[in-house]
Amino acid sequence: MAKVITVTSGKGGVGKTTSTANLGTALAMLGKKVVVMDADIGLRNLDVVMGLENRIVYDLVDVIEGNCRLRQALIKDKHQPELFLLPAAQTKDKDAVSEEEMVELVEQLREEFEYVLIDSPAGIESGFKNAIAGADEVIIVTTPEVSAVRDADRIIGLCEAHEKGQPRLIVNRLRPKMVRSGEMMSVEDVLQILAVDLIGIIPEDEDVITATNKGEVLVGDKSSRTGKCYLDIARRITGEEVPIDPIEDNPSLLERISGMFRGGR
C-alpha cells in the first residue's frame, strides 16, 4: 500500500522543499520506490533544489489537463534510480488545479510508487488545500521562531479540520548555542506549545546552502550530521524506531522524546 505524505508548514522558508528533497532521496536510499511532487504551482523549487531543472519537459498541470501521460512528466533523479520528480508548472498559478484533480493524480501515483511525498506551498489557501487533498499523513516543518511556530499551530488545526489526523513535526534550523544561551527556543519549548509528536530535529547548517547551490542533497553525504538526521527521519517514516539525535544537550528533552518512541508507530 502506497503512503502519501504532504510536507507543509504554513510559514514560508522554513525548509519544506529542502526536507522533501532530502526525505525523498533518503527513502530511495532505503530501497523504496519514491516520487516527490512539487505542489507549489507557479513558484516551483523542488526541481532546482534537486538539480533537475534542466530535465523538465512536462509538469503536473500537463498531466492533469491530459497534455501528456504521467510517465512523460516524471523525471528520474540524478543519483537514485528509484526516485522520481513530478514538477510543478511555473507559468500557471494555484488555481490551475482543483482538489479533486489532485486526489485523482495522487491515486495514479499510488499505483506506481511506495511513497509519494508532496512538497506543499506556504500559506493556508488553495495551494495548501490542494497539497493535502490526497495525503494520508502530514509532516509539518517549523523553525524555533515565533512566526513559524504560530503558523505551524494554525496548520495543525487545519490538518485536523481536513481529517488528515495528527501531523508529525520536524524542528528545523536549530542552533544549539543560541538555545544554550537562552536566545532561541528549544525543541522542548516548541513541543510544549504545539503538542504534536516530533519526527526529527535538523540543525542549522550552512552546507544546506552549498548543496542547494549545486543542486545536491545533503542526505547523500555520509559525513553530514544534517544528512544523517534526514536519513533517520526517513527510517521513522518507514516505521523503524530510531532514537532522535537531540542536537542540543538536554536531558529532559531526551526523556520526552524516548517516551514518544516506546510505543512505536
Binding site: E145, V146, R154, M178, V179, S181, M185, I193
Partner: protein, 83 residues
C-alpha cells in the same frame, strides 16, 4: 536559583518568545473576533437578566485565558450591583 540570579535582570529572549507565543496562540485558537465577542455579551446579558436582575449588564466580562492544565478557557464574570 542561585543568589546570582537575583542580579540577573535580563530574561533570555527565548523565554520572552515562549510567553508571547503562548498568549498569542490562546487567542488564535479560540477565534473570538470583537464582533462575535460583542454579540456573545449581549445574548449572555439577556439570559442572565431574566434570572438575576441585579447583574450590572455593562460590567459583564468575557475573556479567553489559559488554565493551569494548558487548556484554553472561556471565562465570563457577572458583577452583581451593590445594594
Amino acid at each position: 536559583m542561585s543568589i546570582l540570579d537575583i542580579f540577573k535582570t535580563n530574561k533570555g529572549s527565548a523565554v520572552v518568545a515562549r510567553e508571547r507565543l503562548l498568549t498569542v496562540l490562546v487567542h488564535d485558537r479560540v477565534k473570538l473576533t470583537p464582533e462575535i465577542l460583542a454579540r456573545l455579551k449581549e445574548e449572555l446579558s439577556a439570559v442572565i437578566a431574566r434570572y438575576v436582575p441585579e447583574i450590572n449588564l455593562e460590567d459583564i466580562e468575557v475573556r479567553v485565558t489559559q488554565g493551569d492544565d494548558k487548556t484554553e478557557q472561556l471565562v465570563t464574570s457577572f458583577p452583581i450591583r451593590n445594594r
